[in-house]
Symmetry: C2
Subunit: 200 residues, 2 copies
């Protein structure tokens, strides 16, 4: 493939190519040259559009999904279904081909590199800080939400990145049915209406 003309679609093609390379190679392993090759453009064009690998990485994360908003949205509503709604909303982001690559990149790159994590952390911290405004009960809603999310990230990483059986091979509905009760426990255990949760 030769050099492509510039424009919005070229920018999008670079971001798509970068998403593939970051997903397969991790943040450190990915080179601007490999991304340029995959996108069929000159590396100089990537520097022209994005300035640096770090900024290109940020663009791969920001493009299509607004995962935090989707997750916070399901935290409103009846308390009984909180665990299942959050489990389904998060794990669907991994199953859906339109968002799968971005989830792989976000987790793989941020766990493999402190620089990448530094870019992702503010988004996570901001998301967690919004839990007290949701229907997650208790003065410790933020900690509960963080534990629920850590659980879900672990399940997704083992299934989709480590690809360890039997989690790799479980049907999606069985995965939800087995994961949601523990997530529900994190979100609501010991929280009766008006009650403060004990902490050790």
């Amino acid at each position: 493939m030769g050099r492509r003309p510039g424009g919005l679609s070229t920018r999008k093609e670079i971001v798509d190519a970068a998403r593939g390379i970051f997903a397969s190679s991790g943040y450190r392993g990915a080179t601007v040259r490999a991304i340029a090759d995959a996108a069929g453009v000159d590396p100089a064009l990537i520097h022209h559009y994005f300035g640096s690998k770090e900024k290109l990485f940020a663009a791969t994360l920001e493009f299509p999904v607004h995962a935090p908003d989707r997750l916070l949205a399901v935290l409103s509503g009846p308390r009984e279904g909180l665990g299942e709604r959050l489990t389904r909303a998060y794990l669907e982001l991994w199953e859906d081909p339109a968002t799968h690559g971005q989830m792989v990149i976000a987790v793989r790159a941020s766990l493999s590199s402190d620089e990448a994590m530094a870019r992702v952390r503010p988004t996570i911290v901001d998301m967690l800080s919004r839990a007290p405004a949701s229907d997650v009960p208790g003065p410790d809603a933020q900690t509960r939400f963080a534990l629920a999310m850590a659980h879900l990230v672990g399940v997704a990483a083992v299934r989709h990145i480590s690809k360890v059986p039997p989690l790799r091979d479980l049907g999606f509905e069985e995965l939800i049915a087995r994961t949601a009760p523990a997530v529900q426990l994190h979100l609501t255990e010991g929280c009766e209406p008006g009650e403060r949760r004990r902490t050790s």
Copy 2:
């Protein structure tokens, strides 16, 4: 530092240095030269002892901890305490300075690179396959153990690698108290003696 004489202690120093570099740079980001510099040896000596970066990586994982044995050991005993025993045994491996670095490497490197994961996966699969011989109940003990471990890996990764507050800052005993009930749920929920657990 100049070249060191060979011998067992040099081998151990290379492995220790490699553990630090793999932990900070990930599997792909780590170079044999950076490890040689950190160990104060010539890169040729690393090739002499280990043959390849992949084999050196394997050595960093195999050296001191026998994490699978420690985790399987606590799966024997009274059913009530299974969740807390597993949670404590696993998260202690991350808190203990003697094993912390190895846990960081194993998770960081295996999630950041398919080659590294290919080296780690058989150990994990073997560990999970031994669950039915433990006191984890039910014909699906392996799936239960896998979900419990995925949960714990997520909690440890968010606390120790992503370093996201509030999980980063939680006291160890509070972390155990908040995590163990969900792990217990995975290991034993719906499993009365002799009962088969429903699956969807």
